[in-house]
Amino acid sequence: MNKWSSRQTMIMAAAALLGTGTMAAPADDISGAGATFPYPIYAKWAEAYKQQTGIGLNYQSIGSGGGIKQIEASTVTFGASDKPLEPADLKQKGLVQWPMIIGGVVPVVNIPGIKPGDLILDGPTIAAIYLGDISRWNDAAIQKLNPKLKLPKLDIAPVYRSDGSGTNFLFTNYLSKVSPTFLQKIGANTSVQWPVGIGAKGNEGVANQTTQTSGAIGYVEYAYVKQTGMTYTKLLNHDGKYVDPEAKAFQAAAANADWGKAEGYYLILTDQPGADSWPITGASFILMHAASKDTHTVAALKFFDWAYRSGQKMAEDLDYVPLPEKLARLVEKTWQDALQVDGKPVWPAK
């Protein structure tokens, strides 16, 4: 008798547990996946949005390549990529793309005795490091840029992104612009073949690996640097000035961009002119299907609209650059013109 009732109780408990799953009302969760570059701000926005409206935005940072792949397979409502797709690609895949947030990619190092902002580097030197041409920190080329610093005789351990990522794209795009050898040997793309170094997954992985490995150099989106206090470096920009990575440097780089003229918003902000410009700045993009049957599309657009209007302070706290108002309006007009669900235009939402 006792054995029966305890067994029965267990079965009922298991059934109740599973039952909650099937009986629950379909969640209003919007699903998105992609770039790790904007992940900190998307997660912060999603948390705040859920508190305000109760609607969840489940964003998984699996890399820009992953975002593109999942939106193509329509397994998510929107994809996110730091590498903008070219207009021809967009047309062929039936996707619409727009910028959501602007940020900067920052080189980070782990050298004993060097504090954030101490080390100065420039594009060609970084390119040489990742090509394997410079392998010790006290190399003449690095020492020349840092006459006042005493650099140790430490092996350089370059850390790169092992997954397909827009951060990779921005970084390699910049290095290809400033170093012809880099362009020829490695090239610019979301995933490239690196001749030396260790691979880590996601911005998080590179940040983690760099802090764990003595002598490492890596590149991550600035929000990761800010939240963890990593040792960033200064960079020499297009105009020959040394700049620190910060919101006003990213803003300066984005200031001259003419988004209106760019078809599909295809614009890459690396190596921009301007005395205060940060050389590795970039926008992160959202991808959605032009014509879809996804009922979550409207909810997603409402979230993005909310982010444009109310999410600015949160973005600035993490040293991202929110989109200027004019650009946000331009993007929302694109939603109106280009996005349809079940054959009907989906914005402005009723």
Binding site: D29, K44, A73, T75, T228
Partner: protein, 284 residues
């Protein structure tokens, strides 16, 4: 040195080395458990069990991940367990000596050792893509596929332990094979079958790779099987490789929880086997 002396010294050295090997093995276990406990306990707080996974820098817990893991592993075992036991029933009762059974046992062994990531790929292509989205159901299915060969192996072993005499006696009374199996064999092998299922449950609790491409993960609470669901292994994977301290401590807390759960299941399985199992295992 005399021959005997040399041989005795060799024996002492060799046996000493074996003691050293054991010490090394135990040392690794101690090191891993020590790290788990010291880093995991620090992350354990009430909120781990009451709050969902947080954004970087915010405070939170593992509630949605714990729930998701429980649901998916239970579902996986509920689907895979009976199928495994039924297949084992065929191998042990109906087709014990058949040629087909040898082939099935071999295939089962292959599936047993199949890399779980390949199973995840399989379910991704067959379920996730046609469905159009990641879901907890796909995750549970991939776990079920891992449970089946494990259960078949242990269940068949357990069923074969039941002496043929009981089956013959039942048949002599006029019972059909199904009646013999369900009324005589299953109850007799009950504890062994339960042990097998518990071990399968323990095995899939720690599986990460198959869930990566099927259930994905979820930042928030989700109880809908048709949507991506958070789960402990993938959350640990994501959080541990991140640079945020709050995420890293949650990852260790989660790792501690999974290990404790698996250990608990193994101990329960061992207990059932020694208290109710076949005579040889019993410690009466």
């Amino acid at each position: 040195m005399s021959n005997i002396r040399r041989r005795k010294i060799t024996a002492t050295i060799a046996l000493g080395a074996s003691g050293l090997a054991t010490a090394i093995g135990l040392a690794f276990l101690a090191a891993i458990l020590w790290t788990l406990f010291s880093r995991g306990i620090g992350g354990l707080a009430l909120r781990v069990f009451t709050q969902d996974t947080p954004a970087p820098g915010s405070s939170g817990g593992l509630l949605n991940a714990i729930y998701g893991s429980l649901v998916m592993t239970l579902l996986g075992v509920l689907i895979g367990g009976p199928i495994g036991i039924l297949a084992a029933t065929y191998l042990s009762e109906y087709g014990r000596t058949a040629r087909l059974s040898t082939v099935i046992r071999f295939i089962n062994d292959v599936l047993l050792s199949a890399p779980s990531i390949v199973i995840g790929l399989f379910v991704y292509t067959l379920v996730v893509v046609p469905m159009g989205h990641f879901s907890a159901l796909a995750g549970a299915l991939s776990l079920a596929i891992i449970v089946i060969p494990v259960t078949v192996r242990t269940a068949e072993d357990m069923l074969r332990l039941i002496p043929q005499t009981t089956r013959h006696a039942s048949a002599a009374l006029g019972a059909q094979p199904w009646r013999t199996i369900t009324s005589i064999v299953y109850p007799a092998a009950r504890s062994g079958l339960l042990t097998g299922v518990l071990l399968a449950l323990a095995r899939v609790s720690g599986e990460t790779a198959p869930l990566l491409f099927t259930a994905l993960n979820n930042q928030f609470w989700n109880a809908n099987l048709n949507q991506p669901m958070a789960n402990l292994p993938v959350v640990i994977f994501q959080f541990a490789t991140s640079p945020y301290k709050n995420w890293q401590s949650l990852a260790w807390a989660g790792a501690l929880l999974i290990t404790l759960f698996v250990l608990f299941l193994s101990v329960i399985a061992r207990l059932i086997s020694s208290l109710f199992g076949p005579r040889e295992n019993r410690v009466e």
